[in-house]
Every structure is written in C-alpha cells, then in structure tokens.
Symmetry: C2
Subunit: 113 residues, 2 copies
DNA sequence: TTCGACACTTACCTTTGTGTATGTACTGGT
DNA sequence: ACCAGTACATACACAAAGGTAAGTGTCGAA
C-alpha cells in the first residue's frame, strides 16, 4: 500500500496514495463501465498477474473506491463495483486519460519504447 | 525511466509514463508558478534527495515538459522552466490535485498514516 | 477420470525506484 | 585558511513493488 506522505500543499500526494499502483488507474477505468468479475478484469487488463490484481483490488476496496461482492457460490463468483466515491476519482483521472490519448504519438517517439 | 506499456485503450499508460516517479507531479506543480533553480526546487519539495531530483528533472526535460537553462556561470546557475506542453500536463493533473484536497480527511482516516 | 474454470493464497525471486554518502570545481564571505 | 553555497556525479545499499510458479477446493464438461 502506498502511504500518505508529507503535506505537499496540493492534494497530489493524497490522490497518489490511492491510485499509486501499476494497475489501479486501469482497474478504475474498466469498472466505470459497470461491475466486473475477477476473471473479466484480468482478461481486460491482460498483462497483470493474479497476485497483484487481487492485491490492488483489495487496496482499492479498503480505500472505499470499489466494493467486492461475494455471491457465496461454488464455484466462486465475485464481482467488483465502483462506488460513488470511486467515480469522483475516476472522473478526476479522465483529463490525464485524454491527455495521454492526445499526446501518445509524441511520448512514444520520446520514450525508449 | 518509466516505460510506455501495452495499449490500454485509454491514455493513462502514456500519462503515467511521463509523471511516473515519486516527485514528478510535485515538480510540475511547483514549476507552474514560474522558473525555479535547482536549489529552490529542492527546498520547496523538502524531503527529496539531490540525486533523485536531478534524475527526475532530466527525465521530465527529455519528455519535453520542462527545459533546463544553464546560465554558464560560475558558481553554477541553472533553472528549470515548464514548457507549453508541460502546462497541458500540469492542467490535466489539477483535477487529481483538487480531488486530493477535497478528500484528504477521508483518505488519511483510511490509510495507515 | 482427467481437465479446465473459478477466485484466490503463498513462498520465493527479480526488478525498479529511491536514498545515503561522498566527491567535484569554483567562488564569495569571515 | 576555512567554510558555505552552487549544481551536480558516482558508487553503493536498501526497500518496495511487481512477477513466477505452485497449490487450494469445488464443480461441470469431455
């Protein structure tokens, strides 16, 4: 879990305490469209390991941005739903999303891809 | 340097390829107000080490979000200025900043502070 | 009856990121 | 003569983050 650091004046440290984690922004992104099961998320993201996916889902749930719902069935059935609180975060993330799309070419040209 | 990963559909991977680094968002935040010298940034941020600050400044410069200006003086005088491109990124970061400020109390209560 | 799907868990290992400590070349102040 | 400040560089060390591979228990399909 990422920790809340020194007061930076702006709230960036707080935001990154929640979305800091390789796959967390992507998880939020995918959950905006509606609840997803663990396996669905895994396939949607692709290159994430099960261990880390679970771990980050739990941390996001602990922060209150999503909810884990267990249907108590066997074989197991679980899904994850974004909360209203989580939606506010996902929305704050959208401009970055858009920025990335707009500048993808430029950044890919710069970075050691 | 953070690498550009798989195409995630949204542009989040691109954005995080640029601002991924513990102090990069904060550097951008401080440079919005105008050019700053290395020492000024260091004092402004506080708990960053010189090594990492330089490193992240160079990476941000390589990505084109800021410019390093060397006055060729001795003792050395250098400052860092955000570019127009960098400003677009800093602006895309603002909603997260605001989100953090608004939800600071809630997150600090949740996190292991 | 063996296999895959489901949603995990655990132990271990590697990579990445960040920090510490020290050194450099030069100057201005005391 | 000595120390602080300037903007770094470099070697080393450490911790966190992420990945790999294996195992869990139950079910239904082949």
């Amino acid at each position: 879990m990422v920790e809340v650091g020194d007061d930076s004046g702006c709230g960036l440290d707080i935001a990154f305490a929640v979305i800091g984690g390789k796959w967390k922004p992507l998880i939020l992104y995918h959950l905006r469209a509606g609840p997803k099961r663990f396996g669905e998320l895994k396939r949607a993201i692709g290159s994430v390991s099960e261990k880390v996916l679970i771990q980050q889902l739990r941390e996001l749930a602990a922060a209150g941005v999503l909810i884990r719902r267990d249907y108590q069935q066997v074989p197991p059935r679980v899904d994850y739903t974004i909360t209203d609180f989580g939606i506010t975060l996902a929305e704050a993330l959208m401009p970055l999303c858009i920025w990335g799309v707009e500048h993808r070419a430029r950044i890919e040209a710069t970075a050691a891809v």
